[in-house]
Every structure is written in structure tokens, then in C-alpha cells.
């Protein structure tokens, strides 16, 4: 097993004439929290979309567990054990909270069209197991009581927690958080930070894109700073904060 869980080698993405990700090199050590920070428009979300297959790279290699995973469809990437959340929360608002997490068990269950349609859910073992596992992950993020609620009726903070529970239900090895604290109040942000640390303790590698510096500096093991699609600095939170290049990127000359 290689030490680096995820490795981006000369990763490049061009939209028309705009270079969003410019020969980026970045590695993520197994079992750590790595944060990617940078000014708005630095290409952070684009990096996530490249890793998870929503965008195809214009060049370069994405290595996961030492294997190139470029150009795979998002659902194939998910099957490799990579989960993610979205900057604009993407929950299934017409479904209940529990059902949302049950969708997260998709890859851990197997019934196909025929088996699904022959017997009602309350006669089916797998269905019970899915619902049981989903409840477990819902309790893990502290939302067990909301199980029966319509997901669309939840406040934003709870929706982000739900999205996290759904991602965790996949039992991923690598979890990418795209601005998990955006739109959250101070108390909710602290709770989210604690949850992310707890996820790391379970042995899941975490990559975080975030603007809330307090959260980033609190929980990250490594911080990578991106500007104009290029990697400009890397280090522990303390090192990055005093790096002159980083200060320039954020505050200007």
C-alpha cells in the first residue's frame, strides 16, 4: 500500500481559454485531513470535480491507491471508495431523511430490478439491513430523531450533516468535503469540525476545501494552498499561515 492515498500529477483543466487547474501536483497521505485552500476562483471545486469524475482532465494523472483513475464516470469513482459532498448541498429533497442515507448504501447492497419487484420491502432481509445500517449512520451524525422527516424541510445545517451521513453510509476510504461549513453558523461549524475529526479517527482519509480558516487550521494535518490553479504552498497549518507567498495570494502585494 502506497503512503499516498491520493496523488494528482501535473493535473490540468482548461475551460475554453481559461486554465482552471494548471499542472497541479498534490498528494494526500492516508488517514490524514488535508485541506485545500485558496482565494475564490482558485480552482478548488474544479479539482474535486476532476477527482470524482464530474469533469474530465485536460491532462495529467489522478492516482488513487497507486492506480490511475482518470476519466472514470462518477459512479465508477464512487465504487472505488471515494465519497464526496457538494458545495451547494445536494440532497434528495423529496425523500425522507432516512431514505437519503439508504441511498448511500447503494453500493453495499445488491438487489436488482427483478428481485426488488417480486417481494414487498417488509419481507426482504436486505431491505431491513439497508434501513438498519442507514439508521446507524444517521445516529452517528446525531440526526436519528429526524429519520422520518422530509429531507427538503431540514435547515441548511442539518442538510449538510445529512449529506455527510449519506457519504459515510458508503463506508468510503476517502471522503472529499466541498465547503462543509459554508452557510453554517458558528455552533454548527464547530459541530461539523468535530464530526470531520471523528471521521478521520475512523481511518477515513479526508480532503477538505474550505474558506473558514478557523476550521481549517483547527482540524487539518496538512494544508495545501492553491492560486490560479497552481499549488503555491504546502505544510502544517502553522507553517502555511506564515508563508509569504500565501499572504501575498490572499492579501495582494
Amino acid at each position: 500500500m502506497s503512503k499516498n492515498h491520493l496523488e494528482l500529477i501535473n493535473l490540468r483543466k482548461v475551460f475554453g481559454g481559461v486554465v482552471a487547474v494548471d499542472d497541479l501536483n498534490l498528494s494526500v497521505r492516508r488517514g490524514t485531513i488535508t485541506s485545500i485552500i485558496g482565494p475564490n476562483g482558485a480552482g478548488k471545486t474544479t479539482i474535486f470535480n476532476l477527482i470524482t469524475g464530474y469533469l474530465k482532465p485536460s491532462g495529467g494523472i489522478i492516482k488513487y491507491d497507486g492506480r490511475a483513475v482518470n476519466g472514470k464516470k462518477p459512479y465508477r469513482v464512487a465504487a472505488l471508495g471515494i465519497a464526496r459532498t457538494f458545495q451547494n448541498v445536494q440532497i434528495f429533497s423529496d425523500m425522507t431523511v432516512l431514505e437519503n442515507v439508504m441511498v448511500g448504501r447503494h453500493l453495499r447492497s445488491h438487489s436488482g430490478l427483478l428481485r426488488s419487484s417480486l417481494l414487498p420491502p417488509f419481507f426482504r432481509k436486505e431491505e431491513k439491513k439497508i434501513s438498519c445500517d442507514a439508521e446507524k449512520w444517521l445516529s452517528f451524525v446525531g440526526m436519528a430523531e429526524e429519520a422520518g422527516r422530509s429531507a427538503g424541510s431540514l435547515p441548511l445545517g442539518s442538510q449538510r450533516m445529512l449529506e455527510t451521513a449519506r457519504a459515510l453510509a458508503m463506508e468510503p476510504n476517502l471522503l472529499l468535503f466541498d465547503e462543509p461549513a459554508s452557510g453554517l453558523n458558528a455552533r454548527e461549524t464547530v459541530a461539523m469540525g468535530e464530526l470531520i475529526s471523528k471521521i478521520k479517527e475512523m481511518g477515513i482519509t479526508v480532503v477538505l476545501v474550505e474558506h473558514d480558516m478557523e476550521l481549517v487550521m483547527d482540524i487539518s494535518d496538512t494544508v495545501s494552498v492553491i492560486n490560479f490553479g497552481k499549488h503555491i504552498a504546502r505544510g502544517t497549518p502553522a507553517e502555511v499561515q506564515v508563508n509569504p507567498d500565501v499572504i501575498t495570494a490572499y492579501l495582494g502585494e
Binding site: Y54, F92, S93, H106, S116, S117
Partner: protein
């Protein structure tokens, strides 16, 4: 949530069993048999439209493929009706794959375009391929189907048979929705990106459900052929595809039950409209059959404007709203005293 649906299914079977005892007029029974065909096609369509969020504007053409496969194979080739129905299903699966695989690999409403094309082509073929379809004159002398040696050649027998098949179709559909596959489909409808992020193979799921919904239509078509014993291109035109969509939308596209209610209501509507014809004539005005299209359109428009979630959920919401107001009123009254 789920159990309610299965109680509903029991009620459904109870109603189906009792109706022939309440309605003794064969004509009305036959109207209900036609409603069953629409119901079956609509259940399939609602799985596609309401759960996977994909639009097909050519579902009547799948009904037509089922009907013509059954008609041709029994009349010209001497196949048994059951075999011919099975062959119709196989043929429809192949056609649905042919349309669905390229159209559903792309995001967006390509399926609507592709099925529109297919619907148009099938109608033209049905009219022009005289050797196979009998052309505009159609195919006649299609045999009746029999079940365990019982020939289903009376309205009452076919009523039970067709609605039993609708019941089975409902049972399969309801199970599907409350399963891993059903959740995957609803997830696609909710957010395709999120569904893919948890590993739902969206093109595969959309293709599967499209094929399944086409199979429902094909069976409806075969049953139609065995009941009427005669088919011509008329009932498989684009207009009928639009009518099927209207039925699903009127009943409520996010519930399989909505498709059932919508199909029954709109299938019975012409009977109600015939009263209209009589009253028009009574005052010396002429009623044209084409006005029916106008009325269908108006109903769809009104539903979309005032009950966009369809009759089932919409009326539930209105009833809930009225109930809620009464409760508030009571509350105020008791607070006042």
C-alpha cells in the same frame, strides 16, 4: 409509508371483485376494461416519468407494438395468444433498448425526442406495411385469450382478467419503488449528480426503467388485441401517447396510484361527455367529438395551474388545508371561550 400502499392494493382488489356485481350493464364493464389497458400503460409510464424523471412521448407506440405482435402472430402465424404476447414483450424490449441506450446515455431530454420520432414512425409503418398490419383496414379475427382452459370472451371475464393484470403490475411497481432500485431512481430524479456520487449507475437505471415501462405498455397492447379482436393504427397514434401522459399528470406523476386514478378518470371522461352531447343537442346545438380534445387540454391546464402535484396529492393537500383551517377555527373558538 410503504404499508399504506399495500393496504391500498388490498382495497383495489376488493373493489375490482365487487364492481361486476354492482354494474350489470355490459357496456360500462367494457368501458372499464378499456380503462384497465390505459391503467397498465400509465403505471409503466409513471415509473418512468414520476420516479426516474424521464419523458416518453411515444408510449402508445409500444402499446401498438404489443398489439400488432399479438395480432399478426396469432392471425397469420397461428401462434397461441400467450406466446404472441411474450413475443411482443421481447420485441418491445429490443426496441426500447435500441431507443434508450443512445438517448439515455446523454443527460437532458433526448428520450422525449427519440420516443417522439419512434411514435411517428410506428404509426406510419402501421398504416403502410399492409402485408403485416393490414394497413388502415387493420387486422381482424384476432382470437380471444384463454386462462387455464377458460376462454376470456365475455366482458365480465375479461374485466377480471385485465384488472388482475393491472393489480399485478401495481404490485410489481410498488415493490420496486420501495426498494434499492426504486430509491436509486428517485435519487436520479432528485439530483443526478448526488445519485452518481453514491454510486448509482444513472444511464443503466434509466435504461432499465424505460424498458420496464415499455413492457407494461406492450402487455396492455396485447390485452387490447385479445379483447377487441381487431386492431387498426388509430389507437396507437401520437395523440394517444399524449393522452397517456395527460392521465399520469392528472393523477399525479409522483405516485403510482396517481397513474391509476388518472387513467380511470380520463378513460371514463368520454362517457361523462356523452351526457354533454345530449344536453347540447337538447338545446339545438351540435357537439363535435373534437371538443373532447379541448376538454382534455383544459383539464390538463387547470391541473397544472392549481394542482401541479396531481389529483391525489393535490386533493390531499386541499383536504389537509381545509382540515387545518377547521382545526385553527376550533382552536380559536376554544381560546375565545
Amino acid at each position: 409509508m410503504g404499508r399504506q400502499d399495500y393496504i391500498g392494493l388490498c382495497v383495489f382488489f376488493a373493489v375490482v371483485l365487487t364492481i361486476p356485481f354492482l354494474i350489470t350493464n355490459d357496456y360500462y364493464i367494457s368501458v372499464l376494461v378499456f380503462a384497465a389497458f390505459n391503467c397498465l400503460a400509465c403505471i409503466g409510464l409513471s415509473l418512468l416519468l414520476g420516479y426516474a424523471g424521464q419523458i416518453s412521448i411515444g408510449h402508445a407506440a409500444f402499446v401498438g407494438v404489443g398489439a400488432y405482435a399479438s395480432g399478426y402472430l396469432t392471425v397469420e402465424m397461428g401462434w397461441s395468444p400467450w406466446m404472441a404476447m411474450g413475443a411482443g414483450v421481447v420485441l418491445v424490449v429490443l426496441i426500447a433498448l435500441l431507443i434508450g441506450v443512445p438517448a439515455l446515455r446523454l443527460k437532458g431530454h433526448y428520450l422525449a425526442m427519440a420516443t417522439f420520432g419512434f411514435g411517428t414512425i410506428l404509426y406510419i409503418v402501421a398504416v403502410a406495411a399492409v402485408d403485416f398490419t393490414g394497413g388502415p383496414a387493420g387486422l381482424s379475427d384476432i382470437p380471444a385469450i384463454s386462462l387455464f382452459g377458460l376462454v376470456l370472451d365475455t366482458d365480465k371475464r375479461f374485466f377480471y382478467f385485465s384488472w388482475a393484470i393491472v393489480g399485478i403490475g401495481l404490485y410489481f411497481g410498488l415493490n420496486l419503488i420501495h426498494s434499492r432500485v426504486g430509491r436509486g431512481l428517485r435519487a436520479i430524479h432528485g439530483s443526478e449528480d448526488a445519485a452518481e456520487s453514491v454510486g448509482v449507475d444513472t444511464p443503466f437505471y434509466k435504461i432499465q426503467i424505460f424498458v420496464l415501462s415499455a413492457v407494461y405498455s406492450s402487455i396492455a397492447g396485447s390485452l387490447y388485441a385479445y379483447y377487441v379482436n381487431y386492431i387498426d393504427p388509430g389507437p396507437f397514434s401520437m395523440m394517444h401517447s399524449v393522452l397517456l401522459l395527460t392521465m399520469v399528470a392528472v393523477g399525479g406523476m409522483h405516485k403510482v396510484w396517481g397513474a391509476v386514478i388518472g387513467a380511470i378518470l380520463l378513460s371514463l371522461l368520454p362517457e361523462f361527455l356523452s351526457f354533454l352531447t345530449e344536453s347540447f343537442q337538447a338545446v339545438g346545438l351540435e357537439y363535435n367529438e373534437d371538443y373532447n380534445t379541448l376538454i382534455h387540454g383544459s383539464i390538463l391546464l387547470l391541473i397544472m395551474l392549481f394542482l401541479p402535484e396531481g389529483l391525489i396529492d393535490g386533493l390531499g393537500r386541499l383536504a389537509g388545508g381545509v382540515g387545518g383551517m377547521i382545526n385553527i377555527k376550533r382552536h380559536q373558538d376554544s381560546a375565545g371561550t
